[in-house]
């Protein structure tokens, strides 16, 4: 039973250690994900509704306000 996880582990371990081009590609993937999630998402792309409202009810009310703006602007 223990053999199967050990085989899977060694399969991935050997695969990663024997990579040639793959090593550079993994570095690029890692840097890319770091920029995306640790910089862009965190500082530049907050979820507007999640950041500014606490409940789904408030979010829904806000969007509904946006939808009826043409009417409220004329009233």
């Amino acid at each position: 039973m223990i053999e199967i996880p050990a085989k899977v582990f060694s399969f991935y371990r050997d695969g990663f250690t024997q990579m040639t081009v793959g090593k550079t590609l993994w570095k690029i993937i890692f840097i890319k994900l770091l920029i995306m999630f640790a910089v862009l998402k965190l500082f530049f792309f907050p979820n507007y509704l999640k950041t500014n409202f606490e409940t789904d009810k408030q979010r829904g009310d806000y969007v509904l306000e946006q939808l009826i703006r043409p009417v409220t602007n004329t009233n």
Partner: protein, 510 residues
């Protein structure tokens, strides 16, 4: 009247377009190259010829590079939904949630298992299982594209849902109707098959470079044969799926079709413009000619749009101002109905606030009558419903012209390679060298047609982009746009240099 800074909408759109177009450099290659790897490996499995194994591993390496650089570039689009398009994102969350979750789970399991076998499994698993894994990666990659295209198809033709005025969300009522939406089906078949063409064109480009340089000649010829067959079949299939896609556009988005063809005045037996120069000074309703120059094929547009040569195809003027004779409602009328819908939505909200349930129910009932015209209530003028005609016309024609060239190119390569004289065709090899670039151009032009052609709508007829966008500062969007431009350009340079380096090394190193 809605008080949104037009430059905010334009910058938000530009940012989304830029990200999506960048993402789409990698996706079609992944869709097609995965199948080509499966074909090469199947031949290796059947023949046991080591040359085919070398070919498979070479193209698999390029597939891996493309996949690694392209992976997660689509996630940025999801960030943008939450930040720049929060109203839209909230409203469609219930519709898009299921398809995108399926895509995420599917992609994760496929990539963690079969993808690893494909790259790490040479000499570790049986030849048959390795080949099976390669096929699974190809099928899985293409199936995971289904879900995002279902989401896009829904935006072009919103079906299987109902608007919940309490939560301000579109809620899914019929999953099958959303998945088998005819626009989504034609979009998936057209998009995936065009990805096969693009990848085949890429193989031609790299192989022709080897032939011109006099390197790896046998590998290049073998690669060309398989890619030419795949590309030829796929490019013919693309023509059929394109025809179906155009038919769906004619039925569901007639304004887009009119813009694609620069057709202002509708007619029976309408001709298809094979080529032309659009008169950019032309406006809906004026008497100017739509074209400075045009070559038309009589009655073909009617045939493509309605499957009947004598049928009526509405032009931009018919759709904007209405045409009683042909029973077409003008945008003016739809705007009035849309404004009624918004007034009733407002009345519903006020009644709810005052806890007057009978009044809320009555307002909701009235809203439902005009609900499908809701989006028109946001337009300031009927002409706002017209997309940028020149952009849509030229992008559509560029895609169509390039699309019709591919079967000829693949056919020529297949013929001369099988004849054994492809290296002697000094005129053909440079053509092959640029085929990959032409494939990429056709891909991008196709998406420009689809997405610019449906303006001003984020959701067809229900929500224009100016309502979908978040009320951010323009500067904030400009800054993030500039950041993307820098990061994505660096990534693109990285991909191209790694890819070129690997191509220069050739099939010996992977």
């Amino acid at each position: 009247m809605i008080d949104v800074d037009p430059s905010l909408v334009n910058w938000s759109r530009a940012q989304f377009a830029f990200t999506a177009m960048y993402h789409w450099i990698f996706v079609p290659l992944t869709l097609g190259l995965s199948f080509l790897c499966a074909f090469y490996e199947t031949i290796y499995l059947k023949t046991g010829n080591e040359e085919w194994k070398k070919i498979t591993r070479f193209w698999m390496t390029l597939f891996g590079i493309n996949f690694a650089i392209g992976v997660a570039t689509g996630i940025i689009l999801e960030f943008e939904f939450g930040t720049n398009w929060s109203n839209y994102s909230w409203m469609v969350g219930d519709i898009f949630g299921a398809p995108l979750a399926i895509e995420g789970i599917f992609a994760f399991f496929m990539e963690a298992s079969f993808f690893a076998v494909m790259f790490f499994g040479w000499n570790r698993v049986s030849k048959g299982f390795h080949c099976f894994s390669t096929w699974m990666v190809a099928i899985g990659s293409n199936l995971s594209a289904v879900w995002i295209l279902v989401a896009n198809g829904w935006m072009q033709n919103p079906v299987g849902m109902a608007f919940n005025a309490d939560t301000a969300r579109f809620e899914m009522e019929n999953f099958a109707e959303v998945v088998f939406n005819p626009v989504a089906v034609s979009k998936f078949t057209h998009t995936s098959s065009s990805g096969f063409v693009m990848a085949s064109a890429f193989v031609l480009t790299v192989s022709c470079w080897y032939l011109i340089k006099g390197r790896h000649i046998q590998m290049a010829k073998k690669s060309i044969v398989v890619a030419s067959v795949f590309g030829l079949v796929a490019s013919i299939f693309v023509a059929f799926t394109g025809d179906e896609a155009a038919y769906e556009v004619a039925q569901k988005q007639p304004m887009k079709l009119a813009a694609m063809e620069g057709l202002y005045t509708g007619e029976r037996g309408a001709g298809l413009v094979a080529m032309g120069i659009v008169n950019s000074a032309k406006n809906p309703g004026d008497v100017q000619d739509a074209f400075l120059f045009e070559v038309k094929i009589p009655a073909v547009l009617s045939l493509l749009a309605n499957r009947e040569m004598g049928s009526f195809v509405p032009g931009i003027d018919d759709l904007v101002f209405g045409n009683q004779e042909e029973n077409i409602m003008g945008v003016n009328t739809m705007m009035d109905m849309g404004k009624l819908a918004l007034t009733d939505l407002y009345a519903f909200k006020e009644a709810k606030k005052n806890r007057n349930e009978p009044a809320a129910a009555a307002a909701l009932g009235r809203f439902k009558v005009n609900e499908k015209y809701m989006g028109y209530g946001y337009l300031d003028t009927p002409e706002e419903a017209v997309p940028p005609v020149s952009t849509v016309f030229y992008s559509f024609h560029l895609m169509a012209i390039l699309g019709s060239m591919f079967p000829v190119i693949f056919g020529a390569f297949l013929f001369f390679t099988l004849k054994g004289t492809v290296t002697e065709q000094r005129w053909l090899l440079p053509v092959g060298l640029f085929t990959g670039l032409l494939g990429l151009l056709a891909q991008q032009a196709g998406w420009v047609t689809a997405e610019v052609g449906r303006q001003p709508w984020a959701i067809q007829g229900l929500m224009p982009v100016k309502v979908a966008t978040t009320n951010l500062s323009v500067t904030a969007v400009q800054i993030t746009f500039a950041m993307f431009a820098v990061v994505f350009t660096l990534l693109l340079i990285a991909e191209i240099s790694i890819m070129l380096k690997q191509i220069a090394i050739g099939p010996e190193g992977h």
